[in-house]
Amino acid sequence: MISKYTCIALCLLTMGCGGGSSDETSTPASTVPDQNSGTTPPPDINPDPTPEPGPTPEPNPPETNLDSVVVPEQFDWSMYKEDEVKIKTVSSTMRPDGELAGLGGKHFMKIVALDGEQKELENPLQRSLTSRTGETRTKLKLPNEWYGIKVEVTVGSQVCSKVFSKEEVTGEIEVPCDIEMPAGDGE
């Protein structure tokens, strides 16, 4: 709460503490009073919360300000979910270890954003060829209000796609294609 009192005092003293100070390149005086032209940094004030004895006028309720926000630890103020993700194209053939076998080769991959109503946004987030192992590694930055993404992969004449919520867009995700792989040499 000290910070709240500090800011109340500062605002009263400076009538706005962030408009900046003037310097040699600042705007010349104007016809409207410059409410933000504090020329010195805010003074170091330690308000004494102890009330003076005797009657005091009823104070106006203090306005809350950003200083009054109790910020959780390691809060980053970002309005996005940003994660590096590996997107793999997989076949319908099972590997010996039970995973679906990845489709080798460079394929065209399109990543489209889905808004909060899961509608596709007009401009794709990304379009490029995968690596020769059929994968793309990318860092997607998704606004918190979006639902997620849709990934489309073109393998030959076949288009395979899958929708992912933004919570799913992390680590390694797979886009399945109904394509058989040639039998490998196995284990």
Partner: protein, 565 residues
């Protein structure tokens, strides 16, 4: 004579040799002024030629993450009179499933020497049989230091255990002579057609330095070896791919198909039998792909530009700054407000060739003169092909800022004050009652010489910041973004700042920021109106760790923000 055919004969001549168990190195005097050097490396070879990995390597079935290497040497390379007549590397392997019918899912095992891929681009073989693949070893790889570091990349198209192979040996064969005579120059080639080809084209390669082909003036002949990639991702010998084994300088259109890649290797041989380093010319045949970049025209935003393939737009966002750092401001977050949307123009491989910014100065509520800049990690000023900036329709002279060695910094707006200082009525710009001027458009186009990995350069808006015009080191960044090399780090932990280099940055000890990126267009608070007053829901958003109030920026209090009465 074709190099491949020459090799076959050479191998026949060697059949009388019995190799010892360890690395076998023999030099045979051919009694005609030439010598043949042979070195075979196999499972029994020892360092420095080969150090057997545990559980894989020569004579082991090995898979995608069991790649390994070995080293051939040719000590005679240090003799300047040693001149090479032919040099090949033959690799014998078993069960190499690189048949073309596998398409992109066959077993493709790449071979490189001293870090450069050889041609053909993979081991050529068939299921369940022993196969031999012969590569022409470029003479420059031999004569530079006499060492050839060979590396086998197994099953390049898969990153899990699928195909396996085992190698018997790697055989280096060099036929050389000792003479004052010099080898021919490396051919310089001109191909027709140039660049991206059509399946109706005949391919022809011509040597353009044939009139000055040899430093001694010797007569020179040329040998042609043709390769083709019919969809495997690497070129193989044309006959291996089911085509005619071409040995001249032309391939007819009847041999080629859309989507293929053709490459010719040309080696000059002089009248003394000395050979040049190989030269290559490559034709790409797009399949509905005018620029042959691998992305069909229907999906290509730049169908005739092989350096660009797609526009990739960021969401429009708003950057809002306080400018008094390291002192606290008034938290109206309007000292500079810039809307922005970036287009990352990427090539077919998804690398960033160009970055275009379309934005505008929405407001300037600071009386301090600030510049606005962007730091781009993952590249440097040396990689800038061009930068163009326009402010309010006027071209600005902008170049990469000097003093940054590990990232690129572009001062997009050198003085936001001068750009917004056109009123005799208002000292600020679009932050006071009645001030409703048109926003000031800003565009930037940044083109890289070499395309940049998007994982390195990051997402838009990258690392934007403002700095004080009169004090360049006084940078203000978004929370947890890094200062640039020109930031005055002596100001960290002064005033209200609690920046920890390598940790949390540009926040107060209580975690309050000096800048925000709002994930949409945004109506900034009026002058001296704390953001909490204009957007009360930000408090719940922050205090709930974003669990509530996710769209706080869309619920302003009437009259507290610009144009939201």
């Amino acid at each position: 004579m074709n190099i491949k055919h020459s090799l076959s004969i050479a191998l026949l001549c060697q059949t009388s040799y019995v190799f010892a168990a360890a690395t076998e190195t023999n030099t045979v005097d051919n009694q005609d002024g030439t010598f043949t050097y042979i070195q075979r490396i196999n499972k029994d070879s020892t360092a420095p030629h080969y150090s057997a990995p545990s559980g894989y390597g020569f004579n082991f079935y090995s898979h995608y993450d069991q790649d390994y290497g070995w080293q051939h040497n040719f000590d005679e390379a240090s003799n300047p009179l040693v001149k090479i007549q032919s040099a090949t590397l033959l690799i014998r392997g078993y069960d190499i499933d690189s048949e073309a019918f596998h398409g992109t899912n066959g077993e493709y095992d790449g071979i490189s020497v001293d870090g450069t891929d050889l041609n053909p681009g993979l081991l050529q073989g068939t299921n369940g049989t022993w196969s031999e693949t012969t590569f022409d070893m470029p003479t420059s790889y031999i004569l530079d230091d006499g060492l050839m570091n060979v590396f086998l990349d197994i099953d390049m198209n898969h990153d899990y255990v699928w195909w396996k192979t085992t190698l018997d040996y790697s055989l280096l064969t060099i036929t050389y002579t000792i003479t004052q005579n010099d080898a021919p120059y490396t051919p310089t080639l001109s191909g027709s057609p140039q660049g991206c080809a059509n399946p109706t084209d005949d391919f022809t390669v011509n040597v353009t330095n044939s009139s000055d082909a040899d430093p001694d003036g010797d007569l020179v002949t040329y040998e042609y070896r043709w390769f083709v990639d019919i969809g495997q991702g690497e070129v193989v010998d044309d006959e291996v791919a089911g085509k005619t084994d071409h040995t001249g300088n032309t391939v007819l259109s009847s041999q080629v198909s859309a989507g293929e890649t053709w490459r010719v290797q040309v080696i000059a041989t002089d009248s003394n039998g000395l050979v040049s380093s190989p030269a290559f010319f490559t034709w790409e045949l797009g399949e509905n792909d005018s620029d042959c970049d691998g992305i069909s025209d229907v999906n290509d935003d730049y169908p005739n530009d092989d350096k660009r393939a797609s526009n990739n737009y960021s969401t429009q966002s708003t950057l809002a700054f306080e400018d008094l750092w390291p002192e606290k401001g008034d938290y109206d977050l309007n000292d500079l407000v810039i809307s922005n949307q970036f287009n990352l123009v990427k090539d077919a491989n998804g690398l960033v060739k160009q970055i275009d910014l379309t934005g505008s100065i929405q407001a300037r509520g600071g009386s301090l003169a600030s510049g606005f800049a962007i730091a781009f990690p993952g590249t440097t000023s040396a990689n800038v092909e061009s930068i163009s900036v326009e402010v309010n329709g006027q071209s600005e002279s902008v170049s990469a800022e000097t003093g940054h060695s590990s990232e690129l910094v572009v001062a997009v707006l050198k003085n936001t004050h001068s750009a917004t200082n056109d009123s005799q009525t208002y000292s600020f710009f679009n932050t006071q009652d009645g001030d409703d001027r048109a926003v000031i458009p800003v565009t930037m186009s940044l083109i890289f010489t070499d395309p940049v990995d998007p994982l390195l350069i990051g997402n838009a808006p990258f690392n934007p910041f403002i700095y004080r015009v009169s004090d360049r080191g006084r940078e203000v960044h978004l929370p947890n973004y890094a200062p640039t090399a020109l930031a005055n780090t002596g100001l960290f932990k002064t005033g209200a700042d609690n920046t920890e280099v390598g940790g949390e940055t540009y926040m107060t000890p209580a975690g309050h920021p000096w800048a925000l990126e709002i994930s949409t267009s945004w109506l900034h608070p009026m002058e001296s109106v704390d953001i909490i007053q204009a957007y009360p829901a930000i408090q719940d958003w922050a205090e709930s760790r974003k669990a509530r109030g996710t769209t706080w920026y869309s619920t302003p209090v009437a009259g507290k923000c610009w144009k939201c009465n």
